[in-house]
């Protein structure tokens, strides 16, 4: 790794805490953000020459604070002199600040920052954008690219989110215990959404998207450091790792989706699976199950099966049933039906999903599963109709292509003459 890459990693690791501390200090998101930005730029100039500082976080906080104070002073020069005491306390001993970095302030600072970004008044899209901009320090261009929107639209989304936070007068003090649990759930949800955003796409932007998954895992680890005894946060981190471990096998060389049962399991990231399993193990010890832990347990059963036929579908069925009870949702029932089709056959599975047709009328995956089940039951015509509906609802080229392959298979089996027609003409 080049020295610059190392400095880059050091800065991104130190950034959230530095920003969080500066936010405590200035109580203004824009000022704090600008201060960190300036400090990071100076770090990029200074560290390669002087070597990285012993404590990058303290360095960024110190420099960021001084830069912001200088700027304030310059602005104030045109104004009447400020009262002496507002300046004098800015010059307190640096040692005191560095000392404070080691104690519980850190935890509160980071929490405040995460809580602000995941403020309940913000819609989810703004929470995610704000968290990626503020906590992760991604540029607006990077976030815009990841979400497939224009730079100006993303800029606007973030500006709006900041304005709302300012108008909502978010208290800068860490919330009390009950509110804290609620906000923690909101933070976990945002991390989960960031991950899903990265996971669910494919094609030209795959690379950018995969880094969203990595960022989500980094944030989950960060959160876990502060809530080390929370089983659901362990479950969240485990879930993300167990799913992300499959990334190298999820798309083939042409960027097309490879189904779980067709994936080359040798490509799965074993180290990441091991860490996910270890975290899940820790979580289970608490005997306090929650949706993230259950989902992680399902992912773990897939990860543990060295061949698709070794998958413990009965256990997966039972886990989805648990999840259904915890958070009833047609999507969960749909997933459970897939497990049921493996244990009890396609017939009972189809019976399970048919009542969901109305609720999932716009859902690509519903028609994909339905088509697959009908296909297993030998009802080719109906399967074809379901696949057609799936294609109409596909979100990405890879999804559509995957369904087209199923249709091709149908055509090939039922109309051998048509087998010679190039795919593009069908």
């Amino acid at each position: 790794m080049t020295e610059l890459a190392w400095i880059d990693a050091a800065i991104s690791a130190a950034r959230p805490r530095a920003l969080a501390a500066l936010l405590r200090y200035f109580r203004d998101l824009d000022v704090a953000e600008e201060a960190v930005q300036d400090a990071c730029l100076r770090a990029l100039n200074t560290w390669p020459k002087a070597g990285p500082p012993r404590d990058p976080e303290a360095w960024l906080i110190m420099v960021g604070r001084n830069v912001a104070i200088d700027a304030t002073r310059r602005r104030r020069r045109q104004e009447p002199l400020p009262p002496e005491e507002t300046i004098s306390d800015l010059e307190d001993a640096e040692a005191a600040l560095v000392e404070r970095l080691d104690d519980a302030h850190y935890r509160d600072d980071i929490l405040r920052l995460l809580f602000i970004c995941c403020h309940p008044e913000l819609p989810a899209t703004q929470q995610i954008a704000l968290a990626l901009r503020i906590v992760s320090g991604l540029t607006v261009v990077e976030i815009a690219r990841a979400f497939l929107v224009s730079e100006s639209a993303m800029e606007q989304r973030i500006t709006r989110a900041k304005r709302r936070v300012a108008e909502a007068r978010v208290p800068y003090e860490a919330p009390g215990a009950p509110e804290r649990a609620e906000r923690l759930a909101a933070v976990a949800a945002v991390i989960y959404l960031i991950f899903n955003e990265g996971y669910s796409a494919s094609g030209g932007e795959t690379h950018v998207r995969a880094s969203l998954c990595e960022e989500a895992i980094r944030l989950a680890r960060l959160l876990l450091r502060f809530f080390s005894a929370e089983p659901e946060i362990m479950g969240l981190a485990a879930l993300l790792m167990l799913q992300h471990a499959r990334t190298p096998a999820r798309l083939d060389a042409d960027g097309e989706i490879v189904l779980l049962e067709d994936q080359d399991r040798g490509l799965w990231d074993r180290a990441m699976i091991a860490e996910g399993l270890a975290l899940l193990d820790k979580a289970m010890r608490h005997r306090s199950p929650g949706p993230y832990q259950v989902q992680a347990a399902i992912a773990a059963l897939h990860a543990r099966a060295s061949r698709p036929e070794d998958t413990d579908w009965a256990q997966i069925d039972a886990l989805y049933a648990t999840l259904e009870r915890m958070q009833p949702s047609p999507v969960i029932t749909l997933n459970r039906a897939v497990a049921v089709s493996k244990t009890r056959g396609a017939g009972p599975a189809l019976d399970m999903i048919e009542p969901l047709a109305e609720q999932l009328a716009g859902y690509f995956y519903f028609f994909g599963v339905k088509g697959g089940l009908l296909l297993q039951l030998g009802r080719a015509e109906e399967a074809r109709a379901a696949f057609d509906q799936a294609i109409a609802r596909a979100n990405t080229a890879a999804e559509a292509f995957h369904i087209r392959m199923q249709i091709d298979r149908l055509i090939k089996e039922n109309d051998p003459v048509g087998a010679g027609v190039p795919r593009a003409n069908r």
């Binding site: 020295e3 990693a9 050091a10 991104s12 990595e214 980094r218 820790k282």
Partner: protein, 123 residues
């Protein structure tokens, strides 16, 4: 004499490495390790999972207390270790310097080993 080289580094930093950066560091370290292995000086090499995967048993009370997380919250964490067979502390330091060039940042604590039973567990 056997020495343990205990690797301390900020895991926030290490966890911020991209997959490519991580792989690049590992490749550089592997080159140093290969040299040591050829010279018959390299013992077990261990990379620990992040401290978030750790559990601590406090046995200073009865019954012992199980705590999620590492033994101590520190700025840099124990992320792994090497065992090397060296003639002197100087040689152990030289090896640590080599490894350090491949993986800058953080520290190696060089600790002579007083008891070593390799055991028979498969890695």
């Amino acid at each position: 004499m056997m020495y343990a080289l205990l690797c301390y580094h900020s895991e926030d930093v290490v966890c911020s490495w991209s997959k490519e950066q991580d792989a690049a560091v590992m490749a550089k370290l592997a080159a140093v390790q290969e040299k040591l292995a050829k010279a018959g000086k390299l013992g077990p090499v261990v990379r620990l999972m992040p401290t978030t995967a750790a559990t601590t048993l406090r046995k200073d009370r009865e019954p012992p207390l199980v705590i999620d997380g590492p033994f101590a919250e520190t700025k840099e964490q124990l992320l792994g270790f090497y065992l090397v067979d060296c003639a002197s502390l100087d040689e152990a330091l030289e090896i640590a310097r080599d490894l350090g060039r491949a993986n800058p940042g953080g520290s190696y604590e060089i600790r002579p080993i007083s008891l070593f039973r390799p055991g028979n567990a498969a890695a």
